[in-house]
């Protein structure tokens, strides 16, 4: 694909998207589709615009985002540290890896009832749930990244007489980074999903609760606006992580 045609194609695909939304708008105005289930996009955008001027919306937005970030960051830190420890020690791996494999297929949301019983329906439960669920993708991918280090790199670091800490910091960590980021990307998706699910269950202020309330009151324009906001959070957080990854992995040949 030539670079010059890239922008034209992007513009064309935007035109398709806008056309699709316009078709929807037209169908809604002609009442070919139910205005309760598929409200005209203009109404959803209006509702979005109104919410942007509303302090309550920003409170919910901040709450959801801060829980998500808090859960994600603690999962990332713990996951990478533990993962590095397990991945670098074959002796430890024999004992721990089978257990990790057992936990891997467990749906993240299934642990919510346990945390509700342990902690109660509150903010701490939500953050714990997010952190716990996002921990596994980071941990499993970090273990994989550290255990599949090219053996020759380790030999080189031995010849260079690097200390163990230097070896981890200068050789093992960089070579495990692509795997770690694969895990982080999964964890980011999980953290947003769990933030929404846990808020729906706990009924605390947040975007997840917002859309539940909107649906219950048949305020479908507000519901769509909420879905758009959640989609935007998913989109932009992913881009942010991608940027960080590109920056940290810039030494790799493209």
């Amino acid at each position: 694909m030539k670079k010059t045609s890239g922008f034209g194609l992007w513009l064309a695909s935007m035109v398709v998207l806008v056309l699709g939304v316009l078709c929807w708008q037209f169908a809604a105005q002609q009442e070919w589709v139910s205005p309760v289930f598929f409200p005209a996009p203009s109404r959803s955008l209006e509702s979005l615009w109104e919410q942007f001027g509303n302090a309550e919306f920003w409170l919910a937005f901040r709450e959801t985002l801060s829980r998500m970030v808090l859960g994600f960051v603690s999962a990332a830190v713990v996951g990478v540290l533990l993962g590095a420890m397990i991945g670098l020690s074959p002796r430890l791996r024999v004992y721990i890896e089978p257990t990790l494999e057992l936990i891997r297929p467990l749906p993240a949301s299934a642990m919510i009832p346990v945390f509700v019983l342990l902690i109660g329906l509150n903010d701490r439960m939500i953050v714990t749930t997010i952190a716990f669920s996002s921990l596994w993708p980071v941990l499993l991918n970090t273990v994989h990244g550290f255990k599949t280090i090219e053996p020759r790199l380790l030999e080189v670091s031995r010849i260079l007489r690097l200390s163990r800490l230097e070896m981890i910091w200068k050789v093992a960590l960089p070579s495990a980074l692509p795997d770690i980021f694969a895990g982080l990307r999964l964890a980011l998706t999980v953290s947003l999903i769990l933030a929404v699910v846990a808020e729906m269950l706990a009924g605390t202020v947040g975007l997840g609760q917002n859309i539940t309330l909107a649906a219950r009151a048949f305020r479908s324009a507000d519901l769509y606006a909420g879905i758009i906001v959640l989609g935007a959070i998913g989109y932009f957080s992913n881009i942010l992580l991608e940027r960080v990854e590109q920056h940290l992995l810039r030494w790799r040949a493209p």
């Binding site: 194609l9 992007w10 064309a12 695909s13 935007m14 398709v16 998207l17 699709g20 309760v36 289930f37 024999v94 004992y95 721990i96 890896e97 089978p98 257990t99 057992l102 936990i103 297929p105 467990l106 749906p107 993240a108 949301s109 299934a110 642990m111 919510i112 009832p113 346990v114 509700v116 019983l117 342990l118 998706t189 947003l192 999903i193 929404v196 699910v197 729906m200 269950l201 997840g208 859309i211 539940t212 909107a214 649906a215 219950r216 048949f218 479908s220 519901l223 769509y224 909420g226 879905i227 959640l230 989609g231 935007a232 998913g234 989109y235 992913n238």
Partner: protein
């Protein structure tokens, strides 16, 4: 054999310490229960048939959603894979829909379908659509170009080209996609049940939590994990049997 024993050592120790702590009154047993009670509860829900009924409901919702979502994903993926122009034109639309977290659609699906199978399977379908779309598109694009040239020389029409060349050639990777999506479908089905839908394993979890029965909560979590693990293991076997080494290759390139 030694590996198995070493692998089981950690979970066995955890269970033992847990049991002892709970027996000695060191844990809040009203929220954590203890392993022997959990095993008893796991057996009880199996014997009184409630597990089978709940699992059947969850599987029903997950399977319908998987069939519909994955089917659509494969169709669109083949179309995108065969026509680069179409794929480029739809890019903005795809990129704006894909980051929406599937759980954000639960209130909408609830509004449209009410409680029941349709609620669950529509959310599952949305989340299974994307992985299949992406894997199918890249699988179709990766087909040996000479095969497509052959089909041109033979004068195949579009239908024959797809059924005789494209689908068989892309099948190993599509199957890998289906396996991943099957795991996703189970997770999403359970999540929908936990958040909204009063049926299946997820709802059984919530009922157990709300009636303050931590033994049942853990028992259901154990069963859900086991079911997920069995599902993946059996699909892996099918993959190995049908595609052999092709499957391994597909796994790595997906």
């Amino acid at each position: 054999m030694e590996r198995v024993i070493k692998g089981l050592l950690l979970p066995a120790c955890v269970l033992l310490v847990w049991e002892l702590m709970a027996r000695l009154g060191q844990l809040q047993s009203e929220s954590l229960s203890y392993p022997s009670a959990i095993f008893a509860a796991a057996l009880a829900v199996l014997l009184d048939g409630s597990l089978l009924k709940a699992a059947g409901q969850t599987f029903g919702g997950a399977l319908w959603g998987l069939a519909f979502g994955a089917g659509m994903g494969i169709l669109v993926g083949v179309a995108f894979g065969l026509s680069r122009t179409l794929s480029q034109l739809m890019r903005a639309t795809v990129e704006s829909l894909r980051p929406i977290p599937s759980v954000a659609l639960i209130p909408l699906a609830l509004l449209i379908h009410g409680y029941g199978f349709k609620l669950e399977s529509s959310v599952v379908a949305f989340s299974c659509f994307w992985p299949l779309l992406i894997i199918t598109e890249s699988a179709v694009r990766g087909i040996e170009p000479r095969l497509l040239e052959v089909s041109h020389v033979l004068g195949f029409n579009l239908y024959a080209r797809i059924t005789k060349i494209v689908l068989p050639a892309a099948l190993p990777r599509i199957f890998v996609g289906l396996r991943l999506a099957a795991a996703v479908s189970l997770v999403v089905a359970v999540t929908v049940e936990i958040t909204a839908n009063p049926m299946g394993l997820g709802y059984a979890l919530i009922v157990a939590q709300e009636s303050m029965r931590p033994d049942r909560v853990f028992a259901y979590i154990g069963w859900i994990g086991l079911i997920g693990w069995l599902l993946n293991a059996s699909l892996l076997r099918v993959q190995l049997k049908w595609f052999g080494r092709m499957g391994n290759w597909a796994e790595q390139s997906s």
